[in-house]
């Protein structure tokens, strides 16, 4: 009898745990992780920040610069319609808001103060690079990369 009560209690606890875990997983599924990087490109100085090698590879063929420094690196974990804000070193802000997620990617609204507002659709791993304005003799660049399963 005592064993039976223990078994029932244990089963209920496991079931409750499973339910809580499942609901947490559902909540996580709705979130969109976005890797954000703020970098400074300049024709003065030299060297490429090792943590921005991918960005450098993408930009090197398009633009001429001698130095690429990473100023900020963050991972935003946003729900649909949640706004993630970044304070840029030029005193402006950048806001990122996922609008929807479909098979064709995540539709993200991006507002870079002093530069542009836009809606971009990107699949996981797609790199979006936005020039955020002039900064200290070079250019401020913001890169966004949705990184979801």
């Amino acid at each position: 009898m005592r064993g039976s009560r223990f078994t029932t209690g244990f089963t209920l606890a496991v079931a409750l745990g499973w339910l809580l875990g499942a609901s947490a997983a559902v909540a996580e599924e709705g979130r969109i992780p976005v890797e954000v990087l703020v970098a400074h490109l300049s024709s003065e100085g030299s060297g490429v920040d090792p943590s921005a090698e991918r960005l450098d590879r993408k930009l090197r063929g398009q633009f001429k610069y001698s130095s690429l420094k990473v100023l900020q690196k963050r991972r935003l974990d946003l729900a649909i319609d949640e706004v993630g804000t970044l304070d840029l070193p030029n005193g402006k802000a950048a806001r990122v808001r996922p609008i929807s997620k479909t098979d064709t990617g995540v539709l993200i609204a991006v507002d870079v103060e002093g530069a542009a507002k836009m809606d971009v659709r990107a699949k996981s791993g797609h790199l979006i690079v936005i020039r955020a304005g002039a900064y200290e003799g070079g250019n401020l660049v913001l890169s966004l990369e949705p990184d979801y399963e």
Partner: protein, 173 residues
């Protein structure tokens, strides 16, 4: 009686437009030209149609209207996405109109089928837009570079630049 007259008028109008557009051929064309010679009303209407066409052509030729379609087309997916988001709250207030849903679904399916069919058969240019669905850069020029798969570079210039382009081998930073 009146219905019969309405039908006649509608038929005449259809023939008038078809004649004006050069769509009447052979016997039908000769018969309509005979009717045209007999009826001053038909001649007047034909003249009006021609005048409207002329004034539209003159407006197009003389007015530098910006081509807004690209802006509209870029905005549509975002609007659709927002509408889809709003769908859940709209669903709560639909009340007695739930029965319209199947009609909407059929219409949507037909529209999608048409887009797929016509898009597949008649598209002559590659789809534009890429990752950027809509952009507002105020008076600044923007270069969007998405030649490389998996990457989109949105280069917002500091001001409006006439003929902004990548230029040369590489743009200078």
């Amino acid at each position: 009686m009146s219905e019969g007259r309405d039908d006649d008028i509608r038929r005449d109008e259809a023939r008038l437009h078809a004649y004006h557009d050069g769509e009447l051929r052979g016997f039908a064309r000769r018969r309509f030209e005979r009717a045209l010679r007999r009826s001053s009303g038909l001649r007047r209407e034909l003249g009006e149609i021609a005048a409207i066409g002329d004034s539209l052509r003159a407006y197009d030729a003389g007015t530098a209207t910006p081509d807004l379609w690209d802006d509209i087309a870029l905005r549509l997916p975002a609007l659709d996405a927002r509408r889809a988001e709003g769908g859940s709250s709209a669903g709560r207030s639909e009340g007695l109109f739930w029965w319209l849903k199947p009609i909407g679904a059929v219409a949507a399916t037909a529209a999608v089928a048409l887009v797929v069919a016509y898009g597949g058969l008649f598209t002559t240019t590659p789809a534009t837009g890429g990752a950027v669905r809509w952009i507002d850069s105020g008076d600044r020029s923007v270069m969007v570079l998405d030649d490389e798969p998996g990457t989109t570079i949105i280069w917002v210039l500091d001001g409006a630049v006439e003929g902004a382009s990548r230029g040369g081998s590489r743009a200078r930073v």
